[in-house]
């Protein structure tokens, strides 16, 4: 077996904060900008005598995500305590789900440059986040802890080892984010730590005598918090595995070394050993006696399923088949649920999906990109844009003036019709008036007229531009062209 035959085998554990108003077991608000230890109460501080109360909204969002991933929702899920001592975990156990999670056996189709890849989902479960420990940077012999994050609802999504490259690992992580945001399950702001990744990396090294595949040891890389670091860490780890294996193919195997836990230094771009198999924690899991098991009512599960909107990939395919949009445009317009909803609203109102798509791509997306803002912050309703698109379609203003009006609508918040009236932007379609603009252009550009007559057809465009300019951009371009051609004797 050569190094080239080694198949990267990657599974991903993804943690994301759910979009709930309050924490998982208490009424404290989930906030990211609050003073340290200001969003806490006896329950999330793990004080003596307190009891957790499950946040129903968190369970609903978790089930919604599980359903969107095609998971089955078992008849019973239970909560378990996972024990480890750390100052950011006041109870010294985390309430999680061990062997009976609320979602099992789904999948996610991920678009990659080589086509769609289906990644199996092993399980989806709900647990609580820990606080944040900060070490004194002035070299003092103490640490401080902020428990605002303690008890924040955290969804863990564990994939099958179906990913076979660093780029795909990244694409999978991005697709999960897109899905969660689409579903309203999480905001997934990476810079706020709302989404974290733990890739499990190994290489398949052929098959053993028993016919079963053999692997290099599994490295679990902890706590990555950007898509870029996922890709880089997996690239690094795969190369390291390859090197280790080639140097020592008999020893560097999963059977020998098991699973190890590694950290990632983003600035240096290297991983480092945190715990080997021998040092693995015994978390002493046992069923959480303070919570009753989750026994979902089937009708309730179906009601949650009904809240799962059309997902990005399906919607993209529909935009192509139903509206005849180019693949690229369909991809852009379905990347975010808000944008796709906005587009479909406009398309429906103007009864012309292609034109609506054109406005979305050329005007709306351009402004959003310039402002680095989301569709919710556009400051314009789909109805308002539809009015503008209709004005252009009806010929009340021309397309270029339309973009100008679009800008004015954003600046003033006024409706398109009002701006067109007030600014006198209505298209000039009166033949006599247009002819005057054409005559003006012809008189002022005698050389260009000569060029045209000498056979330079491109000169027509220049003359059209001059005539439009003379009209202040308001002339009907179609009419300008007709009159111009007539006058030039073409």
């Amino acid at each position: 077996m050569t190094a080239a035959d080694l198949l990267p085998t990657i599974g991903l554990e993804v943690h994301m904060h759910l979009k709930t108003r309050t924490k998982l077991f208490c009424g404290c608000p989930v906030r990211y900008d609050a003073r340290p230890n200001s969003c806490v109460c006896p329950v999330c501080l793990g004080m003596p005598g307190v009891l957790p109360v499950m946040n129903g909204r968190a369970v609903e969002l978790a089930v919604r995500m599980a359903l969107a991933l095609g998971c089955a929702i078992p008849d019973l899920a239970k909560w378990d305590r996972k024990h480890y001592y750390y100052p950011d975990l006041p109870k010294n156990y985390q309430i999680s789900e061990y062997d009976q999670p609320l979602g099992i056996g789904g999948f996610l189709d991920v678009e990659t440059p080589r086509g769609a890849v289906r990644v199996g989902i092993t399980r989806v479960h709900l647990e609580e986040d820990a606080g944040k420990l900060m070490h004194d940077e002035r070299g003092g012999n103490f640490s401080v802890v902020d428990l605002n994050r303690t008890g924040t609802p955290l969804l863990e999504i564990v994939s099958e080892p179906d990913i076979h490259g660093a780029e795909d690992a990244r694409a999978y992580a991005e697709a999960l984010r897109q899905l969660a945001v689409y579903l309203g399950v999480g905001d997934c702001h990476l810079q706020l730590g709302q989404m974290r990744f733990e890739p499990n990396v190994s290489l398949r090294i052929g098959t053993g005598p028993d016919g079963k595949p053999r692997y290099t040891p599994i490295s679990e890389i902890k706590n990555l918090n950007s898509f870029r670091s996922v890709e880089r860490a997996v690239v690094f780890e795969l190369a390291r595995h390859r090197q280790e294996y080639v140097a020592n193919p008999a020893e560097y195997t999963l059977e020998n070394l098991g699973k190890e836990t590694r950290g990632w230094r983003d600035d240096e771009g290297v991983s480092f050993l945190q715990r080997s198999k021998e040092e693995a924690h015994d978390y002493r899991y046992f069923p959480e006696p303070d919570l009753v098991p989750f026994v979902p009512d089937r009708a309730w599960v179906e009601a949650v399923r009904a809240t799962v909107p059309e997902l990005p990939q399906g919607r993209r395919r529909r935009f192509i088949s139903e509206y005849g949009l180019p693949e690229y445009d369909a991809g852009v317009l379905t990347a975010e649920r808000g944008v796709a909803d906005f587009f479909e609203k406009v398309a429906g109102l103007v009864k012309d999906p292609k034109t609506a798509s054109n406005w979305m791509m050329q005007d709306v997306m351009r402004v959003l990109n310039e402002r680095k803002a989301g569709i919710a912050d556009l400051g314009m309703t789909p109805e308002a844009l539809a009015e503008l698109v209709s004005l252009v379609k009806q010929g009340a203003i021309n397309r270029n003036k339309g973009t100008e009006v679009f800008g004015k609508m954003l600046a003033s918040g006024k409706p398109a019709g009002e701006i067109v009236r007030q600014d006198g932007l209505a298209q000039v379609a009166d033949a006599g008036a247009v002819e005057a603009f054409v005559d003006q252009a012809l008189a002022a550009n005698a050389r260009t007229v000569e060029d045209y007559k000498g056979g330079k057809k491109a000169a027509l465009g220049r003359l059209m531009g001059e005539a439009m300019k003379a009209s202040g951009g308001k002339a009907n371009p179609q009419l300008v062209r007709e009159i111009l051609l007539r006058k030039l004797g073409g």
Binding site: G49, R81, Y85, N92, R284, Y285, P289
Partner: protein, 493 residues
């Protein structure tokens, strides 16, 4: 008759009739504590100022004719594993909490306040409720008011002794494997463990979450019913508290249950039962027969053979988890001589916990360890289900089950401290009730020749506390055990 000799029910009526004030009742209780507790040591803290202030507030309401609650002006003691935000420490009789003051009231403490009770102080217990003698307290053992050389039972020994010595008419305890019923038996008072889920555990410092239940102590069945009435009911802060309606426990209390079929498990009368206790309990059963009850032999095979083993696995496993939070990081006592973080954890816990707590935390951590979980905890849960089924089967043919609460009367201080297993067997008749999540009560049923009280345990099915209390009351009204007061009350210094 002194105020402190009144039962809670009588006191409540007298207060309503303004025969004396709530302040006088509080002062009488505080005076009794001052007079007796140097010898009994039932209390870990007494909040005289707070109690008098609350009593004065109740008097105002009573004078104004405003509703003042079911327990208006009645002094109550609270076991010191229930959180009180009144500024008194909540210690669990452990050093590790280091004088921690709870920032919130337990649900039951809120209920007491809402019903006008006057909490006078917090009572001693075995550290974190782990024990059967109240000797495992970091702040000294409580003595049995009937014989100061003997233990009051445990872990709610302070509450049982405080009621027995008439320092307070009512007290709250918690029962994980018998911690209300066994001290009630040893101190000659009524102690009731409600059905799991009947009373909210919110604010009860957890020992074993799936077994812990808060319940009342009183000198009479009616008093226990009164305190249960005040504290029972659904609380959304405890997911295991059950949204069942709370019946009026006092309304039909005097109505006997007829016909009454009493189940007698042979396992409760076997080897290990003290002959004197057996005789006293048999006499009580004879009294029921005279009242027309029918005796039915029943069998609780799993309970007899496996209850103690299953109990000590479930209880210690949950305890090892519940007590993980006491690490000196966020509150409570932190070691001062540690080298690093891990050392801080270890030293804080080594210095903060007593021997019995350490023993149970280690047992529990072992039982939950990878590779042992199936053999211990999971198997114990299966045994639990079998024990529950034993009782369900029995309740198909009988209305209740009776037997001794404890195999012996109060034992001597120090007698069992060196032998944990002997101590664990003090709970042999009480643990199955917790494992099966059903209700049980211990009622006084006589005395040994040495003058030590004996308790009769009565067990009924889930959420049948109303019947349980009526069954207990039918016997109580035929006897006068509740009128006897322990020697410590008589001996004026």
């Amino acid at each position: 008759m002194a105020i402190t000799d009144l039962t809670a029910c009588r006191m409540r009526e007298a207060l309503r009739r303004r025969e004396f004030s709530a302040l006088e009742a509080a002062d009488a209780s505080l005076a009794a504590i001052a007079r007796l507790d140097g010898r009994v040591r039932a209390f870990l803290s007494v909040d005289a100022d707070g109690a008098r202030r609350r009593a004065a507030g109740i008097d105002k309401r009573l004078a104004a004719g405003e509703p003042a609650g079911l327990l208006a002006g009645v002094p109550v003691a609270v076991k010191d594993n229930m959180c009180t935000a009144d500024g008194q420490a909540t210690t669990c009789a452990s050093r590790i909490l280091g004088g921690w003051r709870a920032p919130y009231d337990a649900h039951v403490v809120e209920r007491l306040a809402a019903e006008g009770a006057v909490v006078v102080g917090k009572t001693n217990l075995d550290e974190f409720a782990m024990g059967s003698s109240t000797e495992n307290s970091a702040f000294g053992a409580t003595r049995n008011p009937w014989d100061l050389e003997r233990v009051p039972g445990g872990s709610s020994g302070g509450s049982a002794a405080a009621v027995a010595a008439r320092m307070v008419p009512l007290a709250l305890g918690s029962d994980t494997g018998g911690s209300i019923r066994q001290p009630a038996a040893l101190c000659g008072v009524v102690g009731l463990k409600p059905t799991y889920g009947r009373v909210s555990r919110y604010g009860l410092v957890a020992f074993a979450s799936s077994l812990d239940q808060i319940g009342p102590f009183g000198r009479t069945v009616a008093d226990a019913a009164l305190l249960l009435q005040a504290t029972a009911g659904h609380d959304p802060r405890d997911s295991t508290s059950v949204p069942e309606a709370v019946p009026d426990y006092l309304a039909a209390l005097e109505e006997p249950v007829r016909p009454l079929r009493i189940g007698l498990p042979k396992e409760f009368f076997g080897a290990g039962l003290d002959p004197e206790v057996r005789r006293v309990v048999r006499d009580a059963l004879a009294a029921y027969e005279r009242l027309g009850a029918q005796m039915v032999e029943v069998s609780l095979p799993h309970s007899a053979e496996y209850a103690i083993a299953a109990y000590y696995i479930v209880a210690t496993s949950e305890a090892s988890s519940n007590l993980a939070r006491y690490d000196g990081v966020h509150y409570g006592r932190r070691s001062s001589d540690h080298a690093d973080m891990i050392d801080m954890y270890m030293r804080s816990r080594v210095q903060g916990f007593g021997d019995e707590v350490k023993r149970r935390v280690m047992l529990g951590a072992y039982a939950l360890s990878a590779g042992y979980y199936e053999a211990y905890y999971k198997k114990a849960l299966r045994v639990r289900r079998l024990i529950r089924r034993d009782f369900q089967d029995a309740f198909k043919t009988v209305d209740c089950i009776m037997g001794p609460t404890s195999p012996t009367a109060a034992f001597r201080q120090g007698e069992r401290t060196a032998d944990p297993l002997a101590m664990y067997l003090s709970d042999v008749y009480t643990v199955s009730c917790n494992l099966a999540a059903i209700a049980g009560v211990s009622v006084p049923c006589g005395f040994t020749r040495a003058g030590l009280p004996v308790g009769l345990q009565i067990i009924t099915d889930v959420f049948t506390e109303d019947r349980l209390l009526r069954i207990a009351r039918m016997y109580e009204r035929e006897t006068a055990w509740a009128d006897r007061s322990p020697p410590v009350c008589e001996a004026r210094p």
